[in-house]
């Protein structure tokens, strides 16, 4: 049942209302993402470099579709405060992947690496995952992440990534989806990767620490294990971790809205 009470706080954090899984009701806002400005030109260039989408969508169309998504949110009183937080627009290529893990390894993580290295030639992106992702990942039930994959099967997808489920356990992030507006889905691997291609500095902070970002829209074949992006100093990393369904001040997940 969609909610009518506030969905997001004044900083864009999705309020952990009505969930049983662990999430912090209050936050001291210690692990933060600085709200970056969106440079559509640079973002598009990197996304095109990664996914060769220029034949399907122009920079102007990209900017226009993102603007439409943001306008739809701004027009909704309950959703509007999400715009006060960090966000990253992205494009996903039209594609169908039988194996999400394999596609992450062959396409999306290399794309993040390339974009990050171009943006930060002195720093590194590293995939620390100790084992192959082949066959390891599927859509988490209840995450609505399948919406993103279904649209990818039909067309180039434009969306906006919001890392706003801060201080949620992975199960809490999934549980929260049940009462959020249907336009939102929980971010998984392709959309989060595309957000980093679009804005490689999303987790780059000099004055404080940014949160770890789970790919909560995906479930691993290993119980209580999920995959995530995380800063390590000025570097960006990808890794797996046991989460045991617990909450940490440092852990966040992301919502995605496509349009």
């Amino acid at each position: 049942m969609p909610e009518t009470s506030p969905l997001f706080d004044e900083f864009g954090r999705c309020l952990p209302t009505g969930i049983n899984a662990p999430a912090h009701q209050k936050t001291r806002r210690y692990f933060l993402i600085d709200k970056p400005d969106i440079n559509y030109s640079a973002s598009y260039e990197r996304l095109n470099q990664a996914f060769s989408i220029s034949d399907a969508i122009s920079q102007e169309q990209y900017e226009s579709r993102v603007t439409s998504i943001l306008a739809e949110i701004a027009d909704n009183k309950l959703m509007k405060p999400i715009l006060n937080g960090a966000m990253a627009p992205f494009i996903l290529p039209k594609a169908v992947y039988d194996d999400i893990g394999q596609a992450m390894e062959s396409t999306f993580l290399p794309a993040v690496q390339s974009a990050f290295n171009s943006f930060f030639p002195d720093y590194d992106f590293k995939n620390h995952s100790p084992r192959s992702l082949n066959g390891q990942l599927s859509v988490a039930p209840g995450s609505r992440h399948q919406q993103v994959l279904d649209q990818m099967a039909n067309e180039v997808v434009v969306g906006v990534y919001f890392p706003c489920l801060s201080e949620y356990s992975v199960p809490a992030a999934i549980e929260r989806m049940a009462t959020l507006p249907e336009q939102f889905s929980l971010a998984g691997g392709f959309d989060t990767s595309a957000a980093f291609v679009s804005m490689p500095d999303l987790l780059f902070r000099k004055e404080g620490y940014p949160p770890l970002l789970w790919l909560s829209g995906l479930v691993s074949t290993e119980q209580n294990v999920a995959y995530h992006f995380e800063a390590y100093g000025y570097d960006l990393t990808f890794n797996r971790r046991v989460h045991l369904g617990q909450v940490a001040e440092y852990w966040s997940s992301g919502l995605v809205m496509i349009g």
């Binding site: 209050k26 210690y30 692990f31 620390h128 100790p130 995380e230 100093g233 617990q246 940490a248």
Partner: protein
């Protein structure tokens, strides 16, 4: 035959580290097996903290940044004019701790202090820990670590030495340590430890701004050339360092160091190691057992999570992992970088005569990040 956990963990080891572990496996198969299992334990979300054992705080040095100074009799008696009447751990308590730790799969003890090499019962302490069951490491300032002592330590079962070197500039190290000649003794101790076949790491304190200095880079290079790890500990606003807030690092210092890890054999307690990405290691990667049986979650946090005279090690660890400051994964150093926790710690320990503050006075089950 190696089990799967051993094969998996060894697959990411350097050739040098692999050779060391194979050597240990030949000499102490039980210890080697436990060490190899840590990888699998962490993979399941279990913890395997190193146990730092502070049986005695006797020390021949009086260092500017010492985290243990306020635990020492000399400080309590001469500065605070109090006597520590609390019950102290003895060899039987250490044997019990060793057994409890072993039953939990814990594999590593660090004998620290104070200066372990001035302890009259050091050999008995090593035996009580049981080097056939645990990997035994010894912290030292190196003053007494000559060839004879190093060989003796190896003979009694010590595997590794952590040797303090606070500057690659002789005069600065001696000044920091308030002990003339200490730099030369460290250099002697490096050779003595390596010649005796002991594993060795150097440990050094990072004060604000040091990561960018020529001196620090030279020390990193020296350790890399020598194939010796350089363990870097951030200066924390506790112990003697309480009087030197200017030493406390900023995030930039930590980030500069993270970049240096790529080029040099240098690391901190939070550096990813062989597939382990713990971040802050409070409880998860380290605990300290003080001379009064108190367990602290980190060498620099003066709040106890329980006393082993009253509570089992397992319950103390579970209690620590339940605590919102200590259990959850985080990338920064709680006592070295989190301003809110530093403030709480400073306020609660101010004026305290007997450290650490017992469970319930520092940490408790009512702790909250946001109150």
């Amino acid at each position: 035959m190696l089990n799967l956990a051993v094969e998996q963990s060894d697959s990411v080891l350097s050739a040098d580290e692999l050779a060391k572990r194979e050597g240990l496996r030949a000499r102490k198969p039980y210890v080697a097996e436990k060490l190899a299992n840590i990888h699998a334990m962490e993979g399941r979300g279990e913890i395997s903290p190193i146990i730092r054992l502070e049986k005695s705080y006797l020390c021949n040095f009086q260092c500017t940044h010492c985290s243990a100074e306020y635990y020492m009799d000399r400080h309590m008696e001469k500065v605070l004019h109090v006597k520590d009447e609390r019950k102290k751990i003895d060899l039987d308590d250490i044997r019990k701790l060793s057994k409890e730790a072993d039953e939990l799969g814990l594999a590593r003890f660090v004998i620290t202090g104070g200066e372990p090499l001035v302890m009259r019962d050091l050999d008995e302490v090593v035996a009580a820990i049981d080097p056939e069951k645990h990997y035994v490491i010894l912290d030292t300032n190196g003053w007494f670590l000559d060839d004879e002592k190093a060989k003796h330590l190896k003979e009694i079962g010590v595997e590794k030495i952590q040797l303090s070197l606070d500057s690659f500039i002789e005069e600065d190290h001696d000044n920091f340590r308030n002990k003339k000649g200490s730099y030369k003794r460290v250099m002697r101790a490096i050779d003595a430890a390596l010649d005796a076949g002991l594993n060795l790491i150097l440990s050094t304190v990072l004060v604000k701004g040091r990561a960018k200095t020529e001196e620090f880079l030279e020390m990193c290079q020296y350790c890399t050339d020598k194939n010796v790890g350089l363990y870097v500990s951030y200066a924390k606003p506790t112990g003697s360092c309480t009087e030197h807030p200017e030493f406390v690092i900023e995030k930039e210092d930590a980030d500069v160091l993270r970049q240096l890890e790529k080029d040099y054999n240098v690391f901190t307690h939070m550096t990813p190691s062989y597939g382990s990405h713990k971040g802050c290691i409070t409880v998860k990667g380290i605990i300290t057992v003080t001379s009064t049986g108190e367990v602290t979650p980190c060498p620099y946090i003066d709040f106890s999570i329980g006393n082993l005279f009253e509570t089992s090690l397992k319950e103390v660890l579970d209690r620590g992992m339940r605590n919102p400051w200590l259990g959850p994964h985080r990338p920064d150093c709680l006592i070295g970088e989190d301003p809110k926790f530093i403030k709480i710690h400073t306020e609660k320990t101010a004026g305290a005569t007997h450290l650490p503050l017992p469970w319930g006075e520092g940490f408790s089950d009512n702790d909250s990040l946001t109150d």
